[in-house]
Amino acid sequence: MPDRHCDIAIIGAGPAGLAAGLYAARARRTTVLFEREVTGGQISTTSIIENYPGIDEVDGFELGQRMQRQAEKYGTEMALTAVSAIEPRESSFRLATGNGDYSARTVIYTSGADYNKLGIPGEVKLTGKGVSYCATCDAAFFKDQVCAVVGGGDAAMDEGLFVTRFASEVHVIHRRDELRASKILQERAFANDKMQFHWDTVVTEIEGDDAVKRLLLKNVTTDETSMLDIAAVFIFIGLTPNTTLVKDLLKLDGDGHIYVNEWMETEVPGLFAAGDVRVNSARQVATAAGDGVTAAIRADHFISEHFDS
């Protein structure tokens, strides 16, 4: 089967990719947006987004769906399949995908980042049995029960506060002695009677057979160990960028982010990176969308310079 061709291939349908799709399609470039899992990326499981300018409050999944509809309205084609390889050719890129091969004049890489796992005993075995990476999916199963949240950033506080709607107590386990979450989320967390904080503490094991029963905790300053009986643990300990497809093509920073300039251009001409996958991202819906827009505008210019005569 011959390759399908497009002007701009976008990999990853989070806010960066969806915003890029909107702008690419409105520039009248043939645009294909690849997504291996769920439209929206990280926001698809975020209960409420209240910091996207102009929108008071929106369910994250709903915002992702709206962004997709808007991009499709102007002609972006959604391809719900994984991309398995990106190969730069002389004046195009070859993409191997679950729908066959594509050739694209430019590629915007918006693959985002995945939540990290703790990597401790019991975690894999008890996933779906009280170990969760999505409070909005699972918190309702733990009505009037004791839960824990691991982490101290925005995601941990957001999700922890969501869990308080159902749980009787929410124990925040954080390895440092202060939170990294934004001040407004910290204020809400500290003001919530159901939230209890375990500072300088890490989880060393999750115990349970058919369901989570308790956490083994260790205080990293005193080495003191303790146990905490809980029904569920929600884990939000940072993210790792998804750069498998480009790690041999591009230089990455120590944490695996892609280096780009202010136009979201990578060192490979015609290959752009935007959103959480790039270096120095503020990791917000609004900044990811902005990155995607910048990359799409630049990709459009790139095609004009190199292909349009």
């Binding site: 769920v38 698809s44 499981t45 049995k129 909005t136 309702a140 369901a211």
Partner: protein, 107 residues
């Protein structure tokens, strides 16, 4: 399109446990974003496996007894029942090809 029909706490035994064919049960709830993504994929599978596997869905908000009985603590969860026993379990959103693979392995 063969829309998976709703089962409830009271119909679960007759429609799932005593069914002759294998049954895939989609445990979902209205507030769960990824569940809304799984639903159309399950509908497509229901077409592909028509005649071989029955497809049903169970709202965990309205039918907590069944959800508790099968230890559902994360949704979306898909359970495949064969002759009244759980033959396979898939937690979280997976692409259609993954689901088909898992389904082929158990039916």
């Amino acid at each position: 399109m063969a829309k998976p029909r709703d089962v409830t706490d009271s119909t679960f035994e007759a429609e799932v446990l005593k069914a002759e064919k294998p049954v895939l049960v989609d445990f979902w709830a209205p507030w769960c974003g990824p569940c809304r993504m799984v639903a159309p994929v399950v509908e497509e599978l229901a077409d592909d496996y028509a005649g071989k596997v029955d497809f049903v869905k169970l709202n965990t908000d309205e039918n907590p007894d069944t959800a508790v009985k099968y230890g559902i603590r994360s949704i979306p969860t898909l359970l495949v029942f064969k002759e009244g026993e759980v033959a396979g379990q898939i937690v979280g959103f997976r692409p259609k090809s993954d689901l088909a693979q898992r389904l082929d392995a158990v039916v």
